[in-house]
Symmetry: D2
Subunit: 124 residues, 4 copies
């Protein structure tokens, strides 16, 4: 498999999506990639990511030693790969969806009301 990805390119996410399609096709793994199974896999990977932080305090979680950061980086990557794959199987454009959601959040939490109010935040 040649990936020729280029994060600086026009469409790095689209390239990852295409590479993942090829990856599954080459291995005859389409049969396992129902949206349900991909949603499970995504959730499991997110928990593996969380596991690295589970006994740390907030400050330590921002100062991971290099070898732990490398492991966390791989888990972040796994989450993104399953997320791209799941969106693809559902026919959704992940980046447009994220942009739309961010706009919705901006309306839901207006700066004037949300600012400096941790109490508000805890009720999200």
């Amino acid at each position: 498999m040649s990936m020729k990805r280029d994060p600086e390119s026009l469409n790095a996410v689209a390239e990852l999506r295409d590479a993942l399609r090829q990856f599954a096709a080459d291995r005859d793994w389409e049969q396992f990639h129902s949206p349900k199974n991909l949603a499970i896999a995504l959730s499991v990977e997110a928990a593996e990511l969380l596991e690295h932080f589970q006994w740390l305090n907030d400050a330590s979680s921002a100062q991971l030693p290099p070898e732990k950061l490398a492991l966390v980086r791989e888990e972040l990557a796994d989450v993104l790969l399953y997320l791209i794959r799941l969106a693809d199987k559902l026919g959704l454009d992940l980046l447009v969806a994220a942009g739309d959601k961010l706009e919705k959040n901006a309306l839901k939490y207006p700066v004037a009301k949300a600012r400096g109010s941790s109490k508000k935040y805890t009720e999200l």
Copy 2:
């Protein structure tokens, strides 16, 4: 907040990252965004996504009715937004990490060995 996102642009993920930085700064929410808390939020969103699929069979999970698909689309977006935010707080380039991981997976599961072997797959 003006987002001016453009999924077709050079760097849609970088634009989302910058918009999320601004979003948190505007609301004074940086204080809540430790990597630990963001990893929790990511995991919770991934579970909310999974919840939509939990009682469906595989076939049904690929044919969601429009109103359910719209909800799933928002959850996918939430996962991506927290993922971008977490990577940013850790100083990691999410797309490069995903490309690297995909290459690693290609070496781990060579086509010749993985192909057609569901048994192999279940041992991932």
Copy 3:
């Protein structure tokens, strides 16, 4: 459905197990209760539980206001109910399994080595 549970009784967990069997049979829900689906449901409920704590600091998480504690109590209950149900479908005795695991943990983390070592703990 008459539950007649008695937490002080000889076998409160077994009574819950039996009540859950009846609950599913009465509603013809056995068809949905594959171990796979129950494991998903358990994971989703655990995330709903976690959601209540996600933006709190450690101290606040130990001093939940009464109305929040009531919600957390229901999520804890949901997790236990799915756990009992899943163990039942797999033919496992949950309490014996937990006792065995605790003994195994005692061997894995001897007091003399584990004591006072937070570093050790973070490597669990």
Copy 4:
């Protein structure tokens, strides 16, 4: 640590709770056991349990080979142990909470309405 647990006894869950208290005290691990951290650990363990089922179909998930069932049994145990510990730290009686929730569910899903309606079920 002597556990002397007896699943047939009056109060197996209370015995596990007490053993877990002693376990943490012996190792000076109380400092890590905030409800927030325990809720994270519970969620991570639930995902590790789910991981065993993620690529299986429903039928296979009910027929695990013995070596896999043994691993699943340990994950089930971990979930229960963290659940008991978390309930204890929050001052909640887990069994009473579960009984109450089951009664509430019985009211929420009356047999006459829920029976034979998979559609209803998917809207839980």
